[in-house]
Structure formats: C-alpha cells, structure tokens
Amino acid sequence: MSAVDLTQFHKTFFEESREGLDAMEAALLALDSGSTDHELVHTIFRAAHSIKGGAATFGFVDVAAFTHVAESLLEEVRSERRAVDSGLIELLLRSVDCMRAMLERSSQGQPVADAESEALRVELVRLVSGEVAEPAAAAAATAPVSGWNIAFTALPHLLQTGNDPLRLFRELQQLGRLEVVRAFVTDSAPAQLSELDPSQCHLGWELRLHGAVARGDIDAVFDWLDGDCELTIAPLVEAVAAVAMPAPDTAVPKPVAGPRPVRETAAASSEGSSIRVGIDKVDALINMMGELVITQSMLSDIGEKFELSQLPRLRDGLVQLERATRELQDSVMRIRMLPIGSVFNRFPRLVHDLERKLDKRVRLELQGEHTELDKTVLEKIGDPLVHLVRNAIDHGLESPAQRKAAGKSETGTLKLNAYHESGNIVVQISDDGAGLNHAAIVAKAQQRGLIAAGQELNDAEVAELIFQPGFSTAAQATDLSGRGVGMDVVRRNVRDLGGSVGVRSVSGKGSTFTITLPLTLAIIDGLVTAVGSERYIVPLTSIVESLRLRADAVRRIAGGGEVFHFRDEYLPIMRLHRAFACTDAVTEVERGIVVVIEEDGRRVGLLVDDLLGQQQAVVKSLEAHYRRVQGISGATILSDGSVALIVDVGGVVRLGQRSRAA
C-alpha cells in the first residue's frame, strides 16, 4: 500500500513507547502517593494516546486495541467523570505492565496478545462501559482465575544455585492445591546412570495450581530462578473461557519474574546497537570538531610555507591539537555514559508492589540519580540492584508492628545512593531495618558445612558468608534473617563487571550494601610489560606487587611447576612467554620481573622481561576482530601504533593454578 517501509521506524516507536510507559508509571505512582496534580492525569493520557496512535500506524493491532480501551478509561478520568482511587491506579499500573510486555513481544516478532492481556482488556472494557463501576468489584475482578498451568523445566545447573524444586513446590503448595500433571526426565539427562553428575538437574514438570492465586505470588516463588529454568505460566483455560481468548498455547513463556530472563537478555544485547544521546553531548562534539578543524587548517598553513621563525606558532598549534584531541576523546566517551537514574526509576514501582505484597511500609529515597556510568555497565547493574532492593525490603526491613516495638517509625527507609569516587562509581543500598542476624547466619553456615562447628567469626567474616554459593536461606526466609538469597549471584554479576560488593550491618540499625564499579569497561588502567618482542598489558587493579627474584628463591615442585615464596605463601610462577609462546624472551627468572596478580583471592606470579610503564588502554575486542584466545581479554593500540594484548587476569590465574595442580 505504502511505498515507505515502515519497519525502519519500529525501533523508534518501541523506544518512545517504553519511555511513554515509564512516564505513565511514574505519574501513576505520584497520583497514588496522594498528589492531586491534574497535569499528572494529562501526562498519563498523552502517553497512552501516542502509544495508541503509533501502534495503529505501524500495524500492531493488538497493542492499539488494548491501549484504546485504557485511553477511554483515562479520558473519563481526565474529564472528571471518574474519580481516581487506589483500585483504579492498581488496574492502570497492571495495564502499563501489560502494554510493556505486549510491546516487548511485538519487538521480538512474537504473538502479541495473550490470555493475560485479553483478560485485562475485558476488565477495562467492563469498567468503561460501567458494568463494574464499583471499585470493590473491580478489585474482585482482578483475580478472575481459578488456577494456573505451570510448565517448569530445570536447567542442569539449577541445583547448584541452591534452589531445590522440592522447596519451590512446597511454596506453591502454600498458595493453593498443587497438582503434578506430569513429571519427566529431560533430554539433557545422560543416557547412562554412570555418567550422571548428581548435582545437575534433568527434571521437568507440568503443574496445575488450583485456587484464586495471584500471578504475582507465583512469580515470587520463581523469582530467584532467573536463568536457571524454563518457565511458562498460563491461566487455566476455563477461567477466562467466556472471553473468547486465544488457545492457551499462544501464551508466551513467561520468563521468571526476575526482570531479565534469558531470552530477553539475548534481545537486549542485540538492541545494544543503538544509543539515545542527549543533544548537549552532540553539540559538545560538534564544537570540539570545529576547534580541531581550525587547528588543522592553521597547522597546514604553517606547513606550506615553513620558516624557522614560525616555530613558536607550530608549537602552539600542536598544543592546541593535543588539547582538542583529549577533549574530543572525553566527549566521545561521555556519549556512552548514561545517568543511573534510568535504573533507579524502576524502583518506585518495585517498592510499591513489594509494600503491598509483604505488608510493609517503605519510604524510598533516591540520591545521585544523575551520576553517569557506562551504558554497558548500566545495563548489567539493574538485576543485582533489584535483588538487593528486594532483599532489603523482604528481609532487612521489619513489619510495621516489629518496628514500632523496636521504637522505630513504622515506615522503614530504603536509601539508594550513587556517586563517583576515585574513578569508580559507588552504589549504596541501605535500609534502617534489623541488620544481619549473625547468630542465624553462623548457624546456617554450619548446617550447610560452610564453616566448622564452633568456629569463631568476626562481623566481616559473617557478612562474607552470605555471599557464599549455596548459602540460600530461602526455604526458611521467615525464621532466619534470610539475607543469603541469591547473594552469590549478585556478587558474580558485579564481579563480571569488574566491580566488587560488600555489606556493612549494625544489628537493629540496618544494613548497607555497597557496590563499587568501574566507570567504564571500555578503558582500563594497565601496566605495559615486555615479553620478548611482544607487549602485554596487565590491568592495574589486579596487580599486587612487582618484584625481582633471585634465582635461588624459586623452588621446583614435582610435575615441573615453579613456585616462589611471597608473604607467607607459595605462589606458582606463570611464565608468560611460555603461556603465549613468545620467542626471544628472558627465560631466567632472575633476569626478568615477576608481577604478582590476584583474582578472587588467588594469586599468581607472572614472569615478564621488563616493565615499560603505565598506560590507559582503550579495550578493543579480540573476538570481534580475530577470535577468542584463552588468557587474553582484549587488545589495544599503543602510542607507536603496534598492537598489545591485554592479559585476562582471571584466565591466567586459573591457568596458573591448574599448572600447579597438575
């Protein structure tokens, strides 16, 4: 029909719609907290209106139909024919979620409408047409299901995360009558019993949960299994049969409630190809470019008719060039920097939902939303933060009654703060709850065999325990402080970003989790080392010390490994020239230099020929240009134009440990 290919605009539409939904959500939450600003209603209406218009234009019929009904409802609110109450806000918030999910599915080319969206749409229609005008009735209509079909297939590593399906099923049982329709062994199971690793899980289930159970409660049960299982949750068919709903198999696998399930992550990384940049940053770039052009023309002017008397001008020009280049570099790097507010923004909603679910009163304070960090880091920090916030509200903050008894205000405070500190970004999540329950943590750790019975631990060591894999107290979240849920996953995620996470807790006063992250993954501070004719860069953050060893300081151990004595321990020596097959390198330990590097508390000494100096290295992916190489995390270009490889400290330490074990 149209000669214009509309698909080129889809991406923009999705992005704008997501922003619109965020704005709707924020405005709804503001309305909920008692604001009577009429402008908020207009904001919500406008956002819904433009999503409807866009969806209709681009042929997303289902989204348009859904939004249309929501818009009609909002029109009534706007013209003051309908009063705003908490039931209505709740319904609209669910509609926002639903639209968001629909858009997500459209952007992935999946079927858009599902039983849930259809049920919600019918609910909205009823409300608009006045069938159910009473807010109380509307609330009743929010749980129209008589049960849920749950398809749950464990991924092999499920058990290793400390999640046992047995516990999950027990929790489901608390919600309603649980029926196992089918239990089966998955294809991932080894054919021979002898090949079975008992710590791997190869089971799957089709479950039916009977009763008027809220979807959110089921999601909460599977919350911590993000990426550890395949999960589909769909309402039982008869529940909404009256509503001409699509066949149940169109229900798209609902990823586990942790906001980023596996498949969405995949989609997110493919989305990573574009970035929305503030116009001021682009202007700064153009400005800088202009200066560069001026400097360049000035320099070429000098070059054309050069006389020795112009030497000072030439020098001036070069200084200008250098300054402009550096500023340009800064501005370009700043393009990748986004304010952390985009992550913080999802917390008011999360807190709102959790407050209701857990029956607690929470005041959320956000600070430092404008702190900027690299887009890559930003995208990956969301999930760990969500885990920590959930934990803080679930286990950190006490119930209003408990708080009153402890002489605190009934409303707990949860503070999120972000700030820059010496080249790092620090994110703090603090609550004024009960703090970590030391006795319970120690007892749990002993029960899990993480520490020996009777072992004395100081506060820091106790806090460290909650980050241990397998220290999941989810099963007894109520009778223990239960801070260990998924904390090892949080730590792993943060480590993957090159950061660290720690906790400080005062009993009865609250806990503070601190995440420290590098500003960017694109630039690292590195030590340039020479190995033969090659240059290798060792990330500065992992270097403990560099030293020269005497020949007699090196001991040979059985199996051909070499170790040396370093601060009360023996460390393996890793000869870089041997690991990376460099010729003409120094082979006598006493003539080279040993750089002690550390990862995860494990240390290795790297033997290199010489240290050449410290340099900021712009990391270039080796995978993108060549292929993955073990022990190398990337490459960079040195000032003389040659390529230097960046040592992957974790990989090298593992190599070193293995050679010692061998």
Partner: protein, 121 residues
C-alpha cells in the same frame, strides 16, 4: 513431616502389587539402604552403590531410614529406575519413610519411582 516413622512392608498386599513382575527372584537381592540424610552430599556414594547393584536385576531399596531428602536424590533414583527398566530389571521397596513419600509425592515422582501406591495417600 520429616518424621522417622516408617512403613514396613516387606510382606503383604502392597508388596505383591508393586513387584508382580518378578517376585520370584527378588528374595535373593539384599536391600540397598538409603541413608538418613539422603541429600546432595550423599549422592556420589549412593550413585556408586546403585551402579554396583545395577546388574543384579531385581533391586530392593530400603527407604525406611530416610529423614531428609532432596530433588537430586529422587532424580538419581528416577534415572536408576529408568536404566534398570531398560535392562529388564525390577525395582521394589522394602519400606519407605514419610519424608521420602512426602517428597516424592510433592514432586510427582512416586510413580516413576514405583513407590507403593498406598504410601501416597
């Protein structure tokens, strides 16, 4: 829930029902005793023991002592039963504890494990 009370059923009706396939040669096999703490940590030893008796054909498991059990244990038993079936062997229970019954029932694995039907009530 995880009580020690065990249902003994070495003889009787339920027994005949679950092992009708080869009740003749079951008498010869010694029961494999499942440990009281039958969780992840015990699986390596249990697996080795089960592999050892796999060839015997008619296997009797004694689940009376089981106090704590997890999904990993039940999975091991399910896969054991599967392999046993493939070889034409049979699985019979020399009693099961409440904890074992409860866990198998909850996970819907009782049938796959050939647990005595009346234990699942």
């Amino acid at each position: 829930m995880a009580g020690k009370r065990a249902r003994q059923q070495g003889t009787g009706e339920a027994d005949a029902e679950v092992s009708s396939a080869s009740s003749a040669d079951t008498a010869a096999a010694a029961p494999v005793l499942l440990p009281a703490d039958c969780r992840m940590a015990a699986q390596a030893a249990l697996k080795a023991e089960l592999l050892g008796v796999l060839k015997a054909g008619a296997i009797v498991l004694d689940g009376t002592q089981v106090e704590r059990v997890d999904t990993a244990a039940l999975q091991l038993l399910v896969l054991f039963r599967r392999e046993l079936d493939a070889q034409g062997g049979t699985l019979r229970w020399h009693g099961t504890s409440d904890a074992l019954n409860e866990a198998a029932g909850l996970l819907g694995l009782a049938q796959l494990l050939n647990l005595p039907a009346e234990a699942l009530a």
